[in-house]
Assembly symmetry: D2
Homo-oligomer: 358 residues x 4
């Protein structure tokens, strides 16, 4: 329980540092006889892979996944699935000059305080590189969920620029390097991020992940509520500072009449007239779309001097000139999707255990 494991029945454990020989994930609890091959996982890793546009880090990692166990003759066997990704472009020397200074906004200081040791090579375990393992686990989770459940993510805000929700088009998400559902805003973000990068700064973002086709009944009250698990799932992604379900923080300002999602019948099925609940009531899915949002802070590594201290307690300055994302939030979209998939796969199996027929 040192914290590298997520999930109860669909349960994965990640390992590896950004500059070690490899990273990976053991996925346990996968039901048997599910078709699974490396391309099924590679597909999702490719979406997260860095270096695909000028808006993400230029670190070149092929992020090629290997299945080392748990699959036999093209099917899951019910035994643990080990997925390994070798690190290729490590270039640790980039980090030597900052090895004894704590980068503000990074985990350098807290790891050093907690463990009395510091893996200065790109953040070690605290690096966002770890999220590749999440995406690999998420690919397996999608297989467990099956084709009836669709999980899609989008970027809805970069810096202060939020999309026009009325212009939302899922098709647009695949057309721009930002996973932006609002075509006009995508163009604006391109300009904005070019400025940000030129200014040696960085930008935060808000990601929204939506799961459709989720049956009612997933989620375990009281402490393993579906929203509780989603909140934890998203908050543990690097740089996330806030998580919202449905109306989110704005729910505080709704009136008692506005907030409840009223229900009518349509073709013999209950339909909700709104979705302030984000598809969850009492910690259990309602059958509506699940809607989760999370905010990612701006990349903390910037090429401008910031005041900090070193391991000996000297006041120093630090500039970070490595290859970093001007907006880490962009690459967080596939990660958020993956975490949603993992949480749902876990709760699907848990629901089955008590007789739920999904």
């Amino acid at each position: 329980m040192a914290g590298n494991t997520f999930g109860t029945l669909f349960r994965f454990t990640t390992w590896g540092e950004s500059h070690g020989p490899a990273i990976g994930v053991v996925v346990d609890g996968v039901p048997p006889r599910i078709p699974l091959a490396e391309p099924d996982i590679q597909h999702w890793l490719d979406r997260r892979r860095p270096g695909q546009s000028r808006y993400t880090t230029q670190r070149r990692e092929p992020d090629e996944v290997k299945i080392l166990s748990g699959v036999f003759e093209g099917q899951t066997t019910g035994t643990p699935i080990q997925l390994m990704i070798e690190n290729v472009d490590q270039r640790s020397k980039d980090y030597r000059n900052i090895a004894d200074r704590f980068r503000p906004g990074h985990a350098d200081y807290t790891y050093w305080k907690k463990y009395g040791i510091r893996d200065y090579r790109g953040g070690g375990r605290a690096s966002a590189r770890e999220t590749a393992s999440r995406v690999a686990a998420g690919a397996v989770a999608r297989k467990v969920l099956g084709a009836g459940i669709t999980i899609r993510g989008a970027l809805v805000q970069i810096g202060p620029h939020a999309i026009d929700r009325g212009a939302w088009d899922w098709a647009a998400v695949e057309e721009n390097p930002f996973w932006c559902p609002d075509r006009k805003m995508a163009a604006r973000w391109a300009d904005y991020l070019d400025q940000v990068r030129k200014a040696g700064s960085s930008a935060g973002a808000v990601i929204e992940v939506v799961a459709s086709g989720v049956p009612a009944g997933l989620g375990e009250p009281v402490y393993d509520k579906l929203d509780g698990d989603l909140a934890r799932a998203m908050m543990t992604i690097n740089a996330v500072k806030g998580v919202e379900i449905g109306a989110g923080m704005a729910a505080a300002a709704l009136t008692g009449e506005e907030n409840p999602d009223e229900i009518r019948m349509k073709d013999g099925t209950p339909v909700f007239l709104s979705n302030n609940a984000g598809g969850i009531l009492g910690g259990i899915s309602t059958g509506q779309d699940l809607v989760v949002r999370f905010a990612v802070k701006p990349t903390s590594s910037i090429p401008k001097p910031l005041r900090t201290i070193d391991a000996d307690g000297n006041e120093v300055e630090i500039e970070t000139h490595g290859r970093h994302d001007p907006c880490v939030g962009i690459r967080a979209v596939p990660v958020g999707e993956a975490m949603m998939a993992c949480v749902l796969a876990d709760h699907l199996l848990r629901y089955r255990a008590i007789g739920g027929s999904v």
Copy 2:
């Protein structure tokens, strides 16, 4: 793992329905030889107790706690501590007329979908009454944390009315029925909530919980990050729809220069020049104040007609005339504090396990 347990080493399990004979909590993992008596717990329960002002439900529950195990001659023994609170004012008949209709915004529909059964007596297990057990557990957690760590909560927004953070005074929190740190806003909220109640409506709220004196080093990367556990802890409180750490959702709009909390030395100790991180970097506490906020939606039970369906799929309307809080967020303050205490106690013990000397 059906979801009624929280924590890894400091670990509690709650039980009981709003209208059963009693509710309670088993707290396991408490170190031995900690002085503990019923008044230590009662003190915190009294702060959450309903019926203390006209702004909370008029249900009269003394919420008297009994220690049934785990304490001997005034000290914890290291064995599980059972805390029981008998339900006194049950009045189930209030609920008979809504027994087969799903209250919008409530868990009625999802429990019924999941379990095929409905405890219509005030929400049963989904009732906010369960949070009394959390407060009891939190009282024990405070004892584990010791006097050096202070946990305080405040209401920072009701409906659309947010406090002036510049006017923050912790002393004010104890002087008004809203736990409001801004005296002027407290007066305004009183008027606002009177209107809301007269209008047969309800209001949401935002709660902020701050822990001071927390040592650096608490939190287990990657999936048991301190902020991940806090997010889950708060999101599982009834009616919560969003959770923020430090700058929260607003972090998305900060620039790369604004966001990182720079560090200087003061009297031989590192000091951060801001706290956008909310006291957590890489999932581990920095030693700064921990700052968590969460939004509570407006009470869903209102005396106005809402469109819904019944268990047979008929379209009906529902009005709820029971005794409900016009703003459930008020009573969520002690609950948020309790959850903060429980998360910290758990991580304190976990840190000790690997040799951390706190």
Copy 3:
């Protein structure tokens, strides 16, 4: 994870000391809509209750169970079930004279070393009284398993006197105070235990628990094997020093030809020609009878002087004159049955989670 919880999906947490106001258990993870009432549980508690013959302790405990939560209108609701048993016959004064001496063979010394505190009232949490909570949880587990699975226990050895397995008759088990399946041996044990008691001594025992009707497929390799969980389940019962599955320790002396249970078909169903495996291969049930045995050491509290030390490190002697079982193994039979039921219920739910249709 302080150790008072057992099970993964069917999961219970016990609490309470032998001389506190009450003991009990929270059973979580029970599927909804299972009929359950207090007599369903009381039936099994009555079988374990002390004072039913002269061969068990004369402590008088009615062991009356109350359901405090999780059941509504006669059915489980899917929420945690709190079962409480009030302690009636506490007589703590019996223990005052031994309060600072460590009884050899008891947990006095280790609790004191571990916790630095000692609940001298009859062993506190280490008392076999805790097993009443296990029996209560086991009664719920039987309901989860349904009528198709039968769990029966028997005493197969007291002191050096083992039964004649050829004389095994399950009907006999209900006819004597020893749960002995061999009528002749039951008579012999009666004489033997009378002698033992007169001599101020005590006797050990071996219990065998058999589950019939268990479907193939229960058990999770590699560390949650069915036999691994059963071994832990039985070994955690007070005074147990050995656990065997099927042929048990004797398996070491079998030849490679004798040991494997060969398979034939009968009426279209696989049948095993022997059961050295005790119904488990590779940690998974085969569909044969599950057979578990465990050895219980003689009652450590005897009215004869034993050499020990006190809390100050003085060499002293101790005699225990309280009301104790001459053979604690007798009352361990219903406890072993209960633990078998709980392990099976847990694995049944776990099997369902991956699609197993049981």
Copy 4:
């Protein structure tokens, strides 16, 4: 929780099949700043490695371990340690002819019933090859325990031939291929096993593992007792059918006077006058030697015809001519030691969490 994880704080997850590309283990929860390098682990793997004498399988596996994460500049970092062992000598073709027949005494049948799929290559996940991962984890556990705790194993019985405990000499254990502490018996076992192999049969064994230097206070009552965890640990090793602590099954026949280990003082320290308890009372270590024994059944794969069925329900016979150990119990000695080390490391960390200073 699909069963491939062991431990609470010192926690490892194994993965890999006997005939896949690799096997391995993620060890999580290791405290930081412990010196660790591959030779520290290789040392123990070499003791388990097959092909070292004519009494073990002739499969040639170098079992070379690689540390892929969690160690930086020769020290543990507090992050998960991935240990990988590539499979070299796979020769799956050996198994083709038995691919659709269930080997009696093996997990073939139960895996097929549970998962509806069968990895016929040498047992897949059910193969004893998995135990190499346990030995690797155990090597890390020994580092966590430190030099003050010694864990040694020995074979005390092969087939019907038990050692003379009076002749026990730990030095002898390293001198013969059986880890036998009784030199005379080692010679006799050599003859016996030669006969067994010539006869196309196999033999069972009993292993004893002893831990010295274990401080009093390890173990968490009630369900995470040290003996309960040890029982589970040993019972989950392939082919184990019985586990004993201290006097074990024989405790049943001891008298009430013989069984309790009396206590005296020696040089200011408590000393027990016997060790029937095997170093554990009430689930907590006493400070005496911990003594655990377990029985391993004879190798089920023998070159003689056994009656069985195939996947289509036909009655068939099967002979297994692969390279198998005539007595798998021999190689179980280092595995038993490893599991003891892992259980102790876990409880050491757990004890520290509540303030125990070990």
